[in-house]
Amino acid sequence: MHWDKTLRRSTVIFSIAMICVFLACTKKQGARTIIQNKGSDTLVNVAQAWAERYHQVNQKVSIAVTGGGSGIGIAALINGTVDIANASRSIKPEEAQKAKQNTGKDAVLHVVALDAIAVIVSKDNPIKDISIEELQCIWGEGGACSKWSDVRNINVPGCANNEIVRVSRQSNSGTYQYFREAILGERRDFKLGSRDMHGSKDVVDLVEKTVCAISYTGMGYLSPNVRALCISKKRGQPCVEPTPQTALNRTYPIARELYMYTLGEPTGEIKAYLDWVRAPEGQKIVNELGYVSIAPPPKAE
């Protein structure tokens, strides 16, 4: 009986202590803001770097960054589960409408960086430049180019049958959708039979190891073992290398803006974060990671 009482008493004391600890914790949590940030794989490295650096600048805010693809980020924005969605393509009208329906707020676009899509081949492939026309012939549905000799008068050493191995991305990738739009226009599909990889890193790894391959990827993922081709509009015209300068002055034909979307005009900590991202300090990180910073002053749409 005596034991019973002590036990009960200590249980009560323990519970009270736990509740106090719990309350103390939640109080501390309350002072900290967590911004949920999700979306484009192209942007995920930059977003991660921004989040880390910003946490040093402003200890009170932490930013949880996840990738998955632009489609996934925008889907999360529509469901209202993220504060900021990263996207490498602009939001589709039906998606914007759904967001409005679900949350009552408009999706607001913020340009945060520029990216040039590089067309890449193995460094053992002798080809140096390629035209948009030739890319259409390689990638488009119904396009006739299946061997490297169909494109140029070249033989790729070590490549069996001289076959063009198209390496692509899974279809929720913003890079995939932007490349399709930029090369084939809005009314044409990719040819079936491409090898679809599940991330930009896998694409570059595979092209490194495969002499026959051709693929495309954001500039930030380029490695010394793949060659980014010089792109011309038509065969015989002067070509443009994918560099920060050509992306910024829009002479490189496959360059795009990278976006962050918020629901409604951002306020408070989210606004402060987006402002920081677009300020010189945030844009410095963009350049460090191989992307192109937006021209100052930041372009707003």
Binding site: M1, D4, G68, G69, G71, I72, A75, K98, C159, A160, N161, E163, V165, Q170, S171, N172, R180, L184, E186, R187, R188, D189, L192, G193, S194, R195, D196, M197, H198, D202, D205, L206, K209, T210, V211, C212, A213
Partner: protein, 315 residues
């Protein structure tokens, strides 16, 4: 219960105490029985629930857009086409079938050979080591196998066979075989061990060599169990997602040789479900694939189950 215990104890006689304990034990047993019943039922409810969920999501597509002809005979899978959306899953079925058969061709001799060696021929000490290593093989995450496929097997296949790309049926078959072998070995070895020693002794008494005993007596006696092991390994191969996504090349293509890249049903769901807006046509089409996949693995597991039952009855 504790409070009753503490207050009642000093007043009670030993006889009453024992009857109290008896009652306690009966109640305890009933509670435990009920818990176990719930556990057992939960598995059934879960499977049924998953089936109903998959069916419910796929149902609108089956009613509206779905046509058996397009789904099963067209290789054109264009769920996000800019011009004309097409849902032909033939190439996906062909992909799943080809890598399943391919992986079984590789895993069958190796897996059964290992099982027979471990159970019949090797020394007890080596047996322990081999079993541990095989269990480790089973514990390697599938995404790691995917990296092995891209970074090691892909350049190796390009070099050895002089083909344009090494992510193909052969690559995926080898990777899947390596993933299925631990299953085949451990279940196959159980089946062989279940053969009574009397069979072996009788065979040896008749003058059979070790090899003859193994292949003429033990293996035939365990054949149902070995078959079940094979089918369970096959179930692993059909259901695997991440590794095949990377190893097959994930390319929509009707295969004509083992050096062709393919795409499987599972990998398609894994790659595309994240982008498909919930409740949309593409989403429902993916669930329809899931339904077919469910049916396939159900048939495989049911067959395996019948085999195992046959093998148990026999021994």
């Amino acid at each position: 219960m504790q409070a009753v215990d503490a207050k009642a104890l000093p007043a009670l006689q030993t006889v009453e105490l024992s009857s109290f304990h008896k009652r306690l034990r009966i109640w305890g047993e009933k509670i435990i029985e009920a818990l176990i019943l719930i556990c057992g039922l939960s598995a059934i409810i879960l499977v049924l629930g998953i089936f109903i969920f998959v069916f419910k999501e796929a149902w609108p597509f089956l009613l509206s857009r779905f046509s058996w002809r397009e789904f099963l005979t067209s290789p054109e899978w264009y769920p996000d086409s800019a011009t004309k959306v097409r849902y032909g899953a033939l190439a996906l079925f062909a992909g799943t079938a080809s890598i399943t058969i391919g992986s079984m061709v590789v895993a069958l001799p190796v897996g059964l050979g290992t099982a027979i060696y471990i159970s019949e021929f090797c020394s007890p000490r080596f047996k322990e080591i081999a079993k541990i290593v095989i269990e480790i093989l089973a514990a390697i995450p599938s995404v790691v196998w995917g990296f092995v496929a891209i970074m090691i097997l892909n350049p190796l296949i390009i070099k050895l066979f002089d083909v344009p790309i090494g992510l193909n049926i052969l690559n995926a078959s080898v990777i899947l075989a390596l993933m299925a072998i631990p299953v085949i070995v451990s279940i196959g070895e159980d089946a062989l061990r279940a053969v009574p020693d009397a069979y072996r002794e009788a065979a040896e008494a008749l003058g059979a060599t070790r090899l003859e005993t193994t292949f003429r007596v033990v293996v035939p006696a365990a054949k149902n169990g070995l078959f079940a092991a094979l089918l369970l390994g096959m179930g692993r191969a059909i259901g695997e997602t991440m590794a095949v996504l990377m190893a097959t090349g994930h390319s929509i293509h009707m295969p004509t040789s083992v050096f062709d890249s393919v795409r499987t049903l599972t990998a398609t769901i894994a790659a595309e479900l994240g982008e498909a807006p919930k409740g949309g046509e593409h989403y429902q089409a993916l669930f329809t694939i899931g339904l077919f996949l469910f049916a396939i693995s159900f048939i495989v597991n049911l067959t395996a189950d019948f085999m195992v039952r046959g093998f148990r009855r026999k021994i």
